[in-house]
């Protein structure tokens, strides 16, 4: 290539790289009662179900067309980042709690209109995960938390007739399952790999530990955290939990055939078990996370955000209001079994009297959301590595967390 050609192509590359992104729209906002099309992205099962709700919504709001695009969870993050980069974010998007820090840092989210949405209407952890540095960017749509699923029939066989309430009882039950009821494992928790931390949260939070505290300091080497990781690791030392679990392992089948009698699961597991493992109907139950200092589980879920570049903010806000008020939330629960983030929705129907759901509700009251930090994925990766070292017998909990602490200190600044 000649010199001019080379210079030209470099020039084009640079221009493209830096120019493509500069074209976000900044047009005027269209009033909510004008005729318009609202673009909405939602993930996984929600994406598919939301289209039905949108149709109902369109009937009562004939001037608005809601275009829902379902996005797979596996590609959701990258698609949203690309859209943010290209300035083509949809008007409304569903976002997982862990995305909030990143996307607010990207500056593509519109702060929540706090006159329309009241913090008090939602579970605190649901609201908190949409909040970054004191500003709310996401309205909680649904929440989830992890509780303990256990096989009651096998527990009976092992001579235990009540749910474990603390760490000791849980380990005793795991041992009894294996020794007396002949199960392969005692408890299914993830030994290593991406997002192992999700299983560890119940231990860490229940012991009173945290990864990063309210002041933004790394505190993963606290005595509470060390205690939690020791407990977590002991399941692997004693052969109660499987040291090697393939990525993408789904515990449901093994719970159904009795190889795994206990695991920490989310609300969606209720449906999965009812539909996929009907042979164990009535032979399992859910219980709150066994406590150390207290019983605290992780909080997850999704929020709805409005894009900063959207020209339909007024309509977007109305649509989100429709989805997150008590009525909309109860309706959403009927369609998806996603737990309502709006506490008022819990006062009627199955949500108010189903025993399993009450366990989730009780867990939600204390559940803890991860802080919205832009580098959260990277931070939890360090914790994942510490957990792996302990479960694989490579380091003590103390040493592994000390290493993680120094690495995380460099990430929170």
């Amino acid at each position: 290539m000649s010199r001019t050609a080379r210079t030209a192509s470099v020039g084009i590359a640079v221009a493209l790289a830096f120019g493509i992104t500069a074209c976000g729209s900044s047009g005027a906002d269209v009033a909510a009662d004008k005729k318009q099309t609202l673009t909405v992205w939602a993930m996984g099962a929600e994406g598919e179900k939301l289209a039905d709700v949108a149709k109902v919504y369109e009937k009562s709001h004939p001037n608005i067309t809601v275009k829902v695009t379902p996005v797979g969870w596996d590609v959701a993050h990258q698609k949203l980042v690309s859209a943010a980069a290209a300035g083509t974010m949809p008007d409304v998007a569903q976002m997982g709690g862990s995305y909030m820090g990143e996307f607010s840092e990207l500056g593509v989210l519109e702060p929540v209109d706090t006159k329309t949405f009241d913090k008090k209407d939602f579970f605190p952890s649901g609201w908190n995960q949409g909040e970054v540095d004191g500003t709310a960017y996401g309205v909680p749509w649904y929440v989830d938390t992890r509780v303990l699923y256990y096989r009651t029939d096998l527990a009976e066989k092992a001579g235990i007739d009540k749910a474990p309430t603390n760490w000791k009882e849980m380990q005793d039950l795991a041992t009894a399952y294996q020794k007396k009821a002949g199960t392969k494992w005692g408890l299914s928790i993830q030994p290593s790999g991406l997002d192992t931390v999700q299983n560890f949260y119940s231990f860490l939070y229940s012991a009173g530990g945290e990864i990063v505290n309210d002041k933004g300091e790394a505190v993963i080497d606290s005595p509470e955290a060390v205690k939690a990781l020791k407990e977590y690791g002991s399941y692997f030392d004693k052969g109660l939990s499987n040291k090697s679990v393939a990525p993408g392992y789904d515990v449901v089948k093994d719970f159904g055939n009795g190889r795994v009698p206990m695991f920490f699961g989310g609300p969606w597991h209720v449906t999965l078990l009812n539909e996929g493992q009907p042979q164990i109907k009535g032979k399992w139950a859910v219980a709150n996370v066994p406590a150390d200092k207290s019983s605290v589980s992780m909080a997850g879920g999704s929020s709805l955000v409005v894009s900063k570049d959207s020209e339909h903010k007024a309509a977007a806000t109305e649509f989100i209001k429709y989805l997150t008020d008590a009525k909309g939330q109860a309706d959403w629960y009927e369609r998806t079994k996603d737990l309502p983030a709006n506490t008022a929705a819990w006062t009627s129907g199955a949500l108010s009297d189903d025993a399993n759901l009450q366990v989730f509700k009780k867990q939600m009251d204390t559940a803890k959301a991860a802080p919205s930090l832009a580098k959260w994925t990277e931070i939890t990766d360090k914790v994942d590595q510490a957990i792996a070292k302990v479960t694989q017998g490579k380091a003590s909990a103390q040493d592994a967390l000390k290493t993680a602490q120094s690495q995380i200190e460099g990430l929170v600044k």
Partner: protein, 330 residues
């Protein structure tokens, strides 16, 4: 555009070449009898036909390659996705940091391990299978060829499902054999020492077919006369293989080795679906590390630098292989 004038002279020259030298008689005649399209029209047609390729190449190859190179000299991170101009130029800092990064060095070591064991195994087994298929079993030949080639065209997800079953320490295929004879089955993917060999076994199984097909083609290109002549001279099977087959197969061998090496240096899918790099990064390869740095943590600049280091390594090794293996043929 200035690129056009820069390259324009070349296609014309190539076209004029064979026309004049190969058939000198036809040349002048043609020139006299028929008016050839002018240079300009010919060039324009050439450019017109190559435009689709050039556009695609520029957009999907040249631009990303250049953008990555530029990025590798910046601290391009998550924030810069929307504010690319805010990325700071930091010179060779990313590259310097790479060589102090324990994780990167480990991934480099893992990749080298994968290549050093995986390439010879793939080539050797591919050759063995090809020779067997080419010589023996006449009737079931097609069946076996398809059998060995099937893994190549199977999606990695399906492969992962099968291999997880094979390697599962509690009720997998291999575990079953161990328990049969009263031994404790090893935990292949959960052990730091066994995870990588398991990964290599899987890759060899998956890539054997490609190499086998190349060798079969190479073997069939060897003229039967040569073999017959060798047999008449009293060469045994082994002798024929060493003196006839191997030397005549050397170009294929070279090609197969080079592409397998490049493929293995880029290995990503196997650890991505089977172990996510674990346990304790023992199967973290450079490509997987790059993917995680870039798309999980958004250290785009750093990941780009990693890509270029990998590129230089691949380039170096390929050049070296071409030199070494080519010299032997003389």
């Amino acid at each position: 555009m200035s690129t056009m004038t820069g390259k324009a002279a070349q296609p014309a020259k190539v076209q004029a070449g064979p026309g004049t030298s190969q058939s000198p008689a036809a040349g002048p005649q043609e020139r006299r009898g028929r008016k050839r399209p002018s240079m300009g029209v010919q060039n324009a047609a050439g450019w017109l036909f190559s435009t689709p390729f050039l556009v695609l190449f520029t957009v999907f190859m040249a631009f990303p390659i250049l953008a990555t190179l530029l990025m590798s000299f910046t601290d391009f991170g998550l924030r810069n996705v929307t504010h690319p101009l805010d990325a700071n130029f930091i010179g060779f800092e990313n590259y310097a940091n790479l060589f102090g990064d324990e994780k990167f060095l480990k991934s480099l070591f893992n990749t080298a391990y994968f290549v050093v064991i995986g390439v010879p195994l793939t080539i050797f087994l591919g050759l063995v299978v090809a020779v067997l298929l080419n010589n023996g079993i006449d009737r079931a030949r097609t069946f076996f060829r398809v059998g060995f080639y099937a893994p190549v065209v199977t999606t990695i997800v399906a492969v992962a499902v099968v291999w997880r079953f094979v390697l599962d320490p509690s009720d997998g295929l291999i575990a079953g054999l161990f328990t049969e004879v009263g031994l404790t089955p090893p935990d292949f993917l959960g052990s730091e020492t066994l995870a990588m060999p398991s990964m290599i076994a899987m890759a060899v199984w998956r890539n054997l077919g490609t190499v086998m097909v190349l060798f079969i083609a190479g073997l069939q290109a060897i003229p039967t006369e040569v073999r017959e002549a060798a047999k008449l001279d009293g060469a045994g099977v082994w002798h024929e293989f060493r003196r006839i087959t191997v030397p005549l197969l050397r170009p294929t061998l070279l090609y197969a080795t080079v592409i397998t090496t490049i493929g293995y240096l880029n290995v990503f899918e196997e650890p991505f679906v089977m172990t996510q790099g674990g346990p304790s990064d023992s199967t973290l390869t450079v490509s997987l590390n790059m993917y995680r740095e870039g798309f999980n943590f958004f250290h785009m600049g750093y990941a780009s630098a990693m890509a270029y280091v990998l590129f230089v390594v691949i380039m170096g090794i390929t050049v070296l292989q071409l030199r070494l293996l080519k010299d032997n043929t003389k």
